[in-house]
Amino acid sequence: MARRLNSISGFLLLAILWEVAPRLGLADPKFFPPLSTLLVELFNLAATQEFWGYLLSTARTWATGLLVATAAGVIAGLAIGLVPGARTYTHSTIEFLRPIPSVALIPGVILIFGSRYQSGVVLITYAAFWQVLLQMLYGLTDIDAVARDTARSFRFSKAGFVVHVAWPTLLPFLFTGIRLAASIALVLAVTAEMVIGTYGIGRGIVVAQTSNAIPSMYALVIVTGLMGVGINVAARAIEQRVLRWHPSVRNATAI
Amino acid sequence: MAINEVAVVSVSHLNKVYLSRERRVEAIGDLTFDVAAGDFTCIVGPSGAGKTTLLKCLSGLLAPTSGAILVNGHAVVGPPAEMAVVFQEYGRSLFPWKTVRENIELPLREKKIAKAERARLVDEALAAVALTGAADSYPWQLSGGMQQRVAIARAVAYQPKVMVLDEPFAAVDAQTRADLEDLMLRLWTELDLTVIFVTHDIDEAVYLGQRVLVLSSSPTRILDDVPIDIAGPRSQATTRVEPGFAELRTRVYRGIQQAKASQSIKG
């Protein structure tokens, strides 16, 4: 009981501060509207069609990008991990390409797709792909180690090996990669919307700020936060369920 | 212990109860014993006998439920400054980001000892454990036995009134253990230390100690207080085959068996 109170106390404190400070003039209410105003605005927005248009558009970009990134990451991971020698030869290329920020693609993507949602998808794919790929490679390395010990002593057939050794070992890594990719995908979806102008919440935030609709701006920022939290929570929940039996559910966080 | 001998460590009616939501575990029932200055006291007991709990209470890491522990006349409320502890997990008790020399020196810096004096103490301690050459290595570059010697050197350099060792040689191979046991004896005589040595190894306890306390299983009490009256200096080659050694060993062994038996009865 005390523990639950302890957990809420932070939020409570923040909420109180956010409500009281602007009202008392400690913070400029023009720049920091009281929390209640923001929440009211959020409710009002939720009744508008425009808001849901934004939300669904961002969701579509996010989902498509995540799907493509996962597929590409899995395929590339399998290709690099399974072809003997591929890992050694591609190592330097991966190490060089990895630190290149996905935003470097923005101009290229604008040229090709303009502000259509495909721009966002390409950006997401480039950034999120690395997460999936790397986790796949870690997993495949792990399989090597496990394989050496177990499969040989049990003398599995090729198919048996894949089903009973390879897949279960790989699965947690894959889920970690997808989870990390999912949160990066959200960041890049919003980025595309802000910098390229793709339709979505990011653009909504910019529009709100330029038209001085400050409570809306904050409300939409809060929505992106909720989306982020939702994605993290859902991803972890799915991971826990699917991997319930697995001794170590990976604990990596990208951010 | 003669009446005019001063007790460096005095434990009276120590009691420790662990309370959790499910159950109540009385790790230590009632322990009372004294350790005189310059003594080498070994403590043995079956697993689960609360040896670790006793050690944590003695070294001030855990507060007793009731009873008193006095070190050098002062009540123990936290780790006493006059006590140095050598832990079983030597690998985890040395700072991996510090060299051997820095590891040994750190507690001395806390004591605000001057630089020159610190250097002298460190060098002497290293010489005492025969690790002068390893001074600038990192602990993880050394073998297990050497790491434990560093931990011992650190305790020695600290110049404590009491040195407490918690199964220090349990995680080391037999040959190294024999060397380390002799090292302990040498340090004890040369530096006139007061040592409390907790171990599960009966042979080791009888070989090293002047006195062996046998603990019962929980709730722990003192089952037996065995004075080790083996004549002459201890030696790995000869002491262990003396008839007196065997008798004492058997006595301690029987005590432990008795402790284990009552434990299994309680279930």
Binding site: S9, G10, T93, A189, M194, N232 | E89, W97, L106, W140
Partner: protein
Amino acid sequence: MRDTLVRSAGKILHRLAIELALPLGLFGLLLAVSANSTNFYFPPLARVLDRFDALWLGPRFATDVLPSLGRLIAGYTIACLTGIAIGVPLGMFRPLRRAAEPVLEFFRAIPPPALIPVLVMLAGFGDTMKVAVIVTGAIWPILLNTVEGVKGADMVLDETCRTYQIKGMSRLWNFVLPSASPQVVVGMRVGLSIGIILMVISEMFAATTGLGAAIIVFQRSFEIPEMWSGVLMLGLFGFALSVVFRLFERRALKWYYGMRDLERRS
């Protein structure tokens, strides 16, 4: 003696050949394939390299790369110091951590670019805004990893500190911080990547000076080879920084890598 020298030289060359084979191959391929390109959006690689040489190895370095670097360093440094300063007490005191965790979980889930308009509202379009954007994004991995690192301090080492009377600042300096440092550095590496990304995004958004600004301005005025040369510069920028970071990492965590290498070998 000569044999071993020759053999190790051969080994190094062999290693180098493997490492460079694919990148050089891809580069050559790109060079060849694009050589006769008449596509407006994808000019010949040779032209892009020419522009790269003219601009980025020239005046643009000072007018754009250096300001970008400056903002990044400023933002990243603030993020590191603040992240560690907040992370350490949170890692040490569980009630504090329990109270803060839900709040932090929420704030870190906000995609950093979403905060750009808020910061524009508060700080305009100048350097302050850009540095602030970098901080708001880069701080999270540093902070969270600091908390993890501090939390996971070894119990036996903690008991050792207690028995040898190592307390307070001394304990912080000699035990808590070094013990957490490998994890903190992990966070710092992620923070650096995020910092670079936000540096570019903020510059693309408020295109004044900087690498990101230059690229987007080139794109808008359809100076395509120049644009691609900027992208190449950005890639090298990111790569160079990651190399520098790795050198720093190896030096700062010398003890940690030494320990791990030994474990791996055994």
